[in-house]
């Protein structure tokens, strides 16, 4: 005992007290160096001041508060204070967003319902580049990333945004906008570590090149631990279909680097050029059925690599007229159990905005996209044809009419689009904004939007499930689910499956569409208090259902004949997507933002959602209705308190409640995230963040149990 005291505890306490003394001295010294709250802009020169972006006291960008849509902006400051380390977690900050973690590197993200692994009714753009995958219709969140500190804002638009952004913006649009190179001058170094994230770091440097040009270059790396160690004895988690893996055993590492170059040769012309390349990898553990005799444990390292180049030219013709021309090329190669493909996208967009007859602001645009893919056969899934080129043509026109200047504004417009699968699509919309008073605005909108068929709806053929009938060895009838949530029954080595469910794409599957009616009201009842409400009523038609079809009607299923596994089966069930479901959803979204004092900001949000799907009489689908209805939470509530305890010390607590998802077998849960940051100077910040710190691990969308985690981080500007 004594020995321990002498050898360990005493020296340790000496060390600790010495350390404490150094820290405390450093703290006091630094505090004296740092100035009063708020930067004194008198220290800047006139030239520097002209470059400072100004915000009004209410901290709401004016244009947004006048938008006749349910728009929410997540600012760079919100992102920094949230402590979130990836884009899906950041999206939790927006009221009404449904974000549920499926695995280490996968999330289900949607708005206003229809959440799933490939949530296909939410369009996501990063700097004007669509990251919605045209193969599965949805977003692979594992590769959507950038330097978090360089994100300027994330605009979250709930409801159709199809006039401006086109197809698939059915229930919402996420617009991620990064900072201009001028705003990221100098160096930024961040590094951190935590129990789930043993190491992450990034470095960025921004400089000028000549008088009118700025650039930045950056690199980022992270490694994340799996939620669970692979356990060979763990049974009952055998997924089939997509994703075919045990989500909790993935680790995840990522490396990415990029640049941005902005050149403003004259005030009327701004050119921007950016590019990024990334490499992501994870080691997955999954049990797959290679034959009807039972599962096999498979370890696979997946690799996803890609990158993009984007150029844009903004030209200001006059005070009332400007144009934007943008090109991008985007490439992804994915080699994982979820999918194996490479895809190249080339996109060109032109937009012109001008004022006409003083009260009309007209915007029109033209777009062209070329998509070329090559898909390898992967586990029990193949595409026919393997390679396909798709062309997408689009045009839109929108007129914003000041009926009564600054009081009543009408926005009319439509998008016209042609795609190779469903042909010509028209997506019109009408929006009205009434601002009877500076602090009140009321808006209403009716719009139509479509989700166009993806490559998988058209060309896929895959085995989606195995069934053992009552006569089989296990003697227990059971079914296997398509999208990877329902489990195959407990593994017994003798299990034999005698029925195979296959799914194939269909040429006749058409677009899903929605007519959305929305009403919103924003009010600023007092200084520093904002309340935003939105009510929506959506009517969907032609929603995807999985219909059983007779064997001789299978079009894309010819491939199976070469598959030994399938050939040995007696019973085959064939399914195809058809548009035999309709649905109604309605809900309300409330958000309040209160700057209670200069050092205290409170934000709350609540959203309510009801979904009612109905299948047409001749539909044989027994699954889609309950799956869709039960995969989005009815109630979501969140509370966020941001405190500046002292001038250098920030403390944030975020609380969120999500109600249960019957189709995913998850209970309602309350999770809490916290962050404590110390800024000894403008250039340096230390922070500790705790995520999901309430005691019990909880499931959000899958069997994966999200556990408490912590990390520490240092951010240094130089």
């Amino acid at each position: 005992m004594n020995n321990i005291l002498m050898r360990c505890i005493l020296p340790l306490s000496c060390r600790i007290s010495a350390a404490l003394i150094i820290w405390v001295t450093a703290l006091f010294w630094l505090q004296s160096v740092c100035r009063a709250n708020g930067f004194d802009f008198a220290e800047l020169s006139l030239e520097e001041l002209k470059n400072v972006e100004i915000i009004s006291v209410s901290k709401k960008p004016e244009k947004i508060s006048e938008a006749p849509a349910a728009v929410f902006v997540i600012t760079a400051e919100d992102i920094r204070r949230s402590g979130a380390t990836n884009i899906p977690e950041i999206l939790r900050l927006a009221p009404g967003m449904e974000v549920a973690r499926i695995g280490t590197n996968s999330w289900a993200v949607s708005a206003r319902g229809f959440n799933e692994f490939y949530a296909n009714k939410l369009l996501v753009m990063i700097d004007g580049r669509s990251v919605y995958t045209p193969i599965f219709s949805g977003v692979f969140w594992d590769v959507q990333d950038t330097l978090i500190a360089d994100i300027d804002r994330i605009e979250v638009i709930r409801g159709p945004g199809s006039i401006l952004w086109g197809a698939n913006a059915v229930n919402g649009v996420i617009n991620i906008i990064t900072k201009k190179a001028r705003e990221t001058q100098g160096g930024l170094f961040t590094a951190g570590a935590g129990d789930r994230e043993p190491g992450f770091g990034s470095i960025r440097y921004g400089g000028t090149s000549g008088k009118d040009a700025c650039y930045r270059i950056y690199a980022k790396y992270f490694y994340r631990e799996p939620f669970d160690t692979p356990d060979e004895n763990k049974t009952g988690k055998h997924y089939l279909g997509t994703p075919a893996e045990d989500m909790s055993t993935d680790n995840w590492q990522s490396f990415r680097g990029g640049f941005r170059f902005d050149w403003d040769p004259e005030p009327s012309n701004a050119l921007s050029f950016q590019g990024e390349a990334y490499l992501n990898g994870d080691d997955m553990m999954s049990e797959v059925w290679k034959n009807s005799r039972g599962p096999e444990l498979l370890n696979e390292s997946s690799e996803v690599a890609g990158g993009h180049l984007l150029g844009s030219w903004q030209h200001i013709i006059s005070d009332t007229s400007d144009t934007v021309l943008q090109f991008y090329y985007d490439r992804t190669r994915r080699d994982s159990l979820q999918a194996k493909y490479s895809i190249n996208i080339f996109d060109a967009d032109f937009q012109h905005r001008f004022v006409f007859a003083s009260n009309h602001e007209i915007t029109y645009g033209l777009g062209y996209r070329f998509i070329s893919d090559e898909i390898e056969d992967f586990y029990l899934t193949s595409f026919d044809p393997n390679a396909r080129d798709q062309y997408l043509f689009s045009a839109f026109v929108q007129d914003e009419i000041q009926l009564i200047p600054d009081i009543l504004r009408l926005t009319l417009g439509s998008k016209f689009e042609h795609n190779d699968f469903s042909g010509f699509e028209i997506q019109p919309g009408i929006r009205l904004l009434w601002m009877p008073h500076k602090s009140h605005s009321l808006w209403a909108a009716v719009s139509r939007a479509v989700r166009s068929p993806a490559r998988s709806d058209h060309d896929i053929s895959k085995i989606t499930g195995l069934e053992s009938s009552s006569g089989s060895v296990t003697g227990e009838p059971a079914s296997v689910r398509i999208s990877g949530t329902e489990e195959i029954p407990e593994k017994t080595t003798n299990t034999a499956f005698d029925t195979v469910n296959t799914e194939s794409g269909s040429d006749s599957f058409d677009s899903e569409d929605v007519i959305a009616c929305e009403i919103g009201y924003r009010v600023q009842p007092a200084d520093g208090l904002w309340i935003d409400t939105a009510f929506f009523y959506n009517r969907y038609r032609g929603l995807e259902s999985k219909e059983e079809i007779p064997a001789d009607a299978v079009l894309a299923g010819g491939k199976w004949e070469s598959n030994d596994f399938v050939q040995t089966q007696d019973n085959m069930n064939y399914f195809q997507p058809e548009n035999k479901m309709e649905g109604i959803t309605y809900g309300i979204e409330l958000a309040a933002d209160w700057q209670a004092a200069e050092w205290c900001r409170l934000r709350a949000a609540y959203s309510y959602l009801t979904m009612d799907m109905s299948l047409s009489e001749d539909s044989t689908d027994t699954r889609s209705k309950s799956e869709i209805e039960g995969s989005s939470p009815e109630h979501q509530f969140s509370l966020w308190s941001s405190l500046d305890i002292t001038k250098q010390l920030e403390f944030d607590v975020r609380l969120r409640y999500i109600s249960d998802l019957p189709a995913r077998n998850t209970d309602g849960y309350t999770a809490m995230d916290t962050r404590l940051a110390w800024k000894p100077s403008e250039n340096l910040e230390f922070s500790i963040a705790g995520q999901d710190i309430t005691d019990s691990p909880h499931s959000e969308f899958s069997d994966l149990e999200v556990e408490r985690s912590f990390y520490g981080k240092v951010e240094w500007k130089f």
Partner: protein, 191 residues
């Protein structure tokens, strides 16, 4: 071994802190509108020459009268201009104007602004700064203007710039230095 490493990191961290704290503070790229405007006004004062009779002595402060009275409530200038401090004086009644060196009218109501400009029209040594439309055409000396930069259809960024009316500054007996004139967006009047 492990201890040595962590001890080293620890000391390196402390060293880093000392190093960075001494450095020039990173420039904020975003600011609350009236904090930034106050920064501009401080810079204006640096480049304006008042005649000697405007001050009692070498050390007497520059009085900055502001309307609305609470608009610069949170602002405190931490620096002096030469030997002079800048003191913020809330504008309570028209009598206050007489002793002001700078009058800032942070309102957009043109009639109101014209009324206040008329009061100081014949007074010397008052630098008028405003933000209403056509402030310089109405006889003000320096008028703030907002430059909008489009982010996308939903958002734009705002930055500040300013116009100068030299005829008005001549009438007030003020001399504006070239640093001020060269950064202005527009300079009206002759010199």
């Amino acid at each position: 071994m492990k201890y040595r490493v962590s001890g080293f990191t620890f000391q390196a961290l402390i060293f880093l802190m000392y190093l960075t704290a001494g450095q020039v503070h990173a420039q904020p790229t975003v600011g609350e509108e009236y904090r930034v405007k106050a920064g501009f006004i401080f810079n204006f004062a640096k480049f304006v020459e008042w005649s000697e009779e405007a001050f009692e002595d070498k050390n007497s402060p520059i009085l900055l009268c502001v309307f609305p009275p609470d608009i610069f409530n949170k602002i405190l200038f931490t620096q002096n201009i030469g030997t002079r401090e800048i003191l913020i004086k809330p504008y309570q009644n028209d009598e206050d104007v007489k002793c002001c060196h700078i009058l800032f009218l942070g309102v957009s109501d043109k009639d109101f602004v014209q009324e206040k400009l008329n009061i100081v029209k014949d007074m010397k040594n008052i630098l008028t700064v405003g933000e209403s439309e056509d402030f310089t055409q109405m006889g003000g000396i320096i008028g703030f203007a907002t430059e909008k930069e489009r982010v996308n259809l939903l958002a734009e960024k705002r930055r500040l710039t300013f116009d100068i009316n030299l005829d008005a500054s001549d009438r007030a007996g003020l001399k504006l230095r070239s640093q001020l004139l060269s950064t202005a967006r527009k300079v009206e009047g002759s010199q």
